[in-house]
């Protein structure tokens, strides 16, 4: 069937397109900011179109795999396309486009190579969402991080350098832990392909279980650093507050990569393996999420700068997201996906509106102290108000529905009282913090108005922020269809069997298991997993 073949080939496009664009930008249009903008914009629009196309291609619930170099599944690297990865691709491309348009209003000129780094960042993100191989996931994490180091330092300055050093150091440690986990998992199972791993962990000898669990928990630790679990979150507020606004807005999706990886590895790959593994991540995630939410809310309340407010808001939103993920059932994941999309959009919008406010306040910048009134207050004030509603989770924007779904999902959980109390208390604390911030910035202002006049102000950035708020509103208006789509996504994400079939299904060789990956003398003998029926 040519149609299916064509779709399969397109799976690799979201990684190839930004890679080629970034290389072209750096080689051909190094000094030409106008051409950089045009090419980068065109490429990101194309990425959005491709992501949309891929989303509709898999919307029937079929998982599709692309084998790089046509190597058969467990030996070569596969890219796997399902609803979860296309949802993330679509979110990345949409957010990327919004952030890019915002940056083109001036931020991209404050340092060199913004656009190529931006495209490399998209490459890493897309690759991490698509790959079906754990070591390849590590490589794409690194691509994503290398680009993020460059983007984070974009614009320069001593505070950015110092925060950047910490950010790079903590991520190098995380990468080392990732490699240890990869080594342990490979040493026990002899495979790094996620689908193959899902099959092989079921048959791991009892004596090796402890090592495998150590490996799996170390993976969780790595993803927890990315997702800013408390107490591994200390890098986040400093980094995000020091980064330039569009970069911080794009980084809103970087923490979600950690959340995605937890869903993928612990939801899809390890979910119905041996009993001991299945419940491995569960006991850790919900308590850590509750502490994360509490620390995030306290941080928001204690912030003395708008940027800290925005950064700790990300920590708090990761807490709520991880509470939902920690349920590890279809309803929990549906909630998690809805909240993930909502919080990515809302947190990014918050960073951008803070930047718009800060650039109008002169030397005070984003400090929460009374200062001069700022120009374009009606628009900025309204946008800030709406974004605050969205991130706190008050009606009518999508944060409210997301939080309601979290409360609803955890109703049957044994910790329902604790979760409800914390979620509601955190909402109250964030409401107070945002109300205080808004009134200091917009109402306690005295004296001469600062900032560009109506005639000289740039309106593109405001339109971008307005667009993000509109996206949050659309997520509310179309909450029904959205939740239905996320429900299908969650069902598919937890369905290990269909994932394995899609990746390994067309395997034709029937030679004994673990043919080349283990030296014969030391290999623990594994019983062969049951043969998957070949896909027609």
């Amino acid at each position: 069937m040519t149609d299916a073949g064509l779709t399969t080939s397109w799976i690799v496009a979201p990684t190839i397109l930004p890679a080629i664009t970034a290389a072209l930008l750096i080689l051909v249009w190094r000094r030409d900011i106008r051409m950089q903008r045009i090419i980068s914009f065109a490429s990101t629009v194309a990425l959005l179109v491709i992501a949309t196309g891929l989303y509709f291609a898999v919307s029937d619930g079929e998982t599709d795999a692309y084998r790089l170099g046509a190597w058969t599944a467990p030996y070569g690297i596969v890219l796997v396309l399902d609803l979860l990865s296309t949802t993330m691709l679509l979110l990345t491309a949409g957010l990327g486009l919004a952030v890019l348009i915002y940056a083109m209003a001036g931020w991209d000129q404050r340092g060199r190579h913004f656009h190529s780094l931006f495209q490399f960042q998209l490459l890493g993100l897309n690759g991490a969402f698509l790959t079906g191989d754990i070591f390849n996931l590590f490589v794409f994490f690194e691509v994503m991080l290398i680009a993020s180091y460059g983007l984070m330092l974009h614009g320069g300055g001593a505070p950015r350098l110092r925060a950047g050093f910490q950010y790079v150091a903590i991520n190098l440690i995380a990468s080392s832990l990732f490699l240890v986990a990869v080594g342990l998992i490979y040493g026990i199972t002899g495979t790094l392909n996620m689908a193959d791993l899902a099959v092989k962990v079921r048959a791991v000898a009892p004596a090796d279980q402890a090592l495998l669990q150590t490996g799996a928990l170390m993976l969780l630790l790595v993803f927890a650093i990315k997702a800013a679990f408390v107490p591994l979150h200390w890098w986040l507020p400093a980094t995000y507050a020091a980064a330039s606004a569009p970069v911080a807005a794009l980084f809103a999706i970087m923490t979600k990569v950690g959340a995605y990886a937890i869903i993928r590895i612990f939801g899809t790959v390890l979910s119905d393996s041996a009993d001991t593994l299945a419940s491995l991540a569960g006991p850790w995630i919900v308590p850590a999420a509750l502490v994360t939410l509490a620390v995030g809310a306290v941080g928001v309340l204690a912030s003395r700068r708008l940027l800290d407010l925005a950064a700790f808001n990300i920590v708090a939103s990761m807490g709520i997201l991880l509470i939902a993920i920690g349920q590890f059932d279809v309803d929990g994941l549906t909630t998690a996906l809805y909240y993930l999309v909502h919080s990515t959009i809302a947190s990014a919008a918050l960073f951008l509106i803070v930047d718009l406010i800060a650039e109008r306040r002169g030397a005070v910048l984003d400090a929460l102290v009374p200062a001069n009134p700022i120009s374009q207050t009606p628009i900025l004030g309204a946008l800030f108000f709406l974004i605050a509603l969205a991130v706190i989770g008050l009606p009518p924007l999508s944060g409210f529905i997301g939080k309601l779904m979290v409360l609803n999902t955890t109703y049957d959980s044994p910790d329902v009282l604790l979760i409800w109390a914390l979620v509601l208390a955190a909402s109250l604390m964030m409401t107070i913090a945002f109300a205080r911030a808004g009134s200091v910035v917009f109402w306690k202002a005295k004296g001469r108005t600062t900032g560009p006049t109506w005639a000289t102000a740039r309106f593109t950035p405001m339109i971008v922020v307005g667009f993000l708020v509109a996206a949050s509103a659309m997520l509310t208006v179309f909450a029904g269809p959205a939740v239905k789509a996320f429900h299908a996504t969650a069902e598919q994400a937890l369905d290990t069997e269909s994932y394995v079939n899609a990746v390994l299904g067309v395997r034709t060789n029937t030679e004994p298991e673990r043919p080349i990956t283990e030296p014969a003398d030391a290999a623990p003998m594994l019983p062969a997993p049951k043969q998957e029926p070949a896909r027609p």
Binding site: R162, S175, G183, R304
Partner: protein, 117 residues
């Protein structure tokens, strides 16, 4: 040999952890480098320790696992690039702020909160 390799990995990791916990940038960079060495050797052991065997199946009944070698190669390339980057970062930070402390200074709000000036 297992004892030797395990001890080497353990010692290097211990030294790396000690160095990373220091306050200045240079020990942290050296610690991260040591950590990456330890990880590289650890990855090798994931394919079991086999001496004097080919990394391909040649019909002999014994061979060494080639995949961890590929993993180590990738890990070396990445950690080498990262080390170069963090050295530059540490140097730039030292040149711009005249201190090599790795922590972020506490005076994050330089403005007077009363007057806002």
């Amino acid at each position: 040999m297992e004892f030797l390799v395990a001890t080497a990995i353990g010692l290097m990791t211990a030294a790396a952890v000690y160095l990373i916990l220091q306050q200045r940038t240079f020990p942290i960079v050296v610690g991260l480098t040591l950590l990456s060495y330890a990880i590289n050797i650890f990855l090798f052991t994931a394919g079991r320790l086999v001496v004097n065997e080919p990394p391909i199946i040649t019909g002999a009944d014994s061979y060494t696992d080639p995949l961890p070698q590929a993993l180590v190669l990738t890990a070396i390339v990445i950690s080498f690039g990262m080390t170069a980057l963090i050295v530059v970062l540490a140097l730039r930070g030292f040149l711009e702020t005249a201190t090599d402390k790795a922590d972020i200074p506490a005076d994050d709000l330089p403005l007077d909160p009363e007057t806002g000036i």
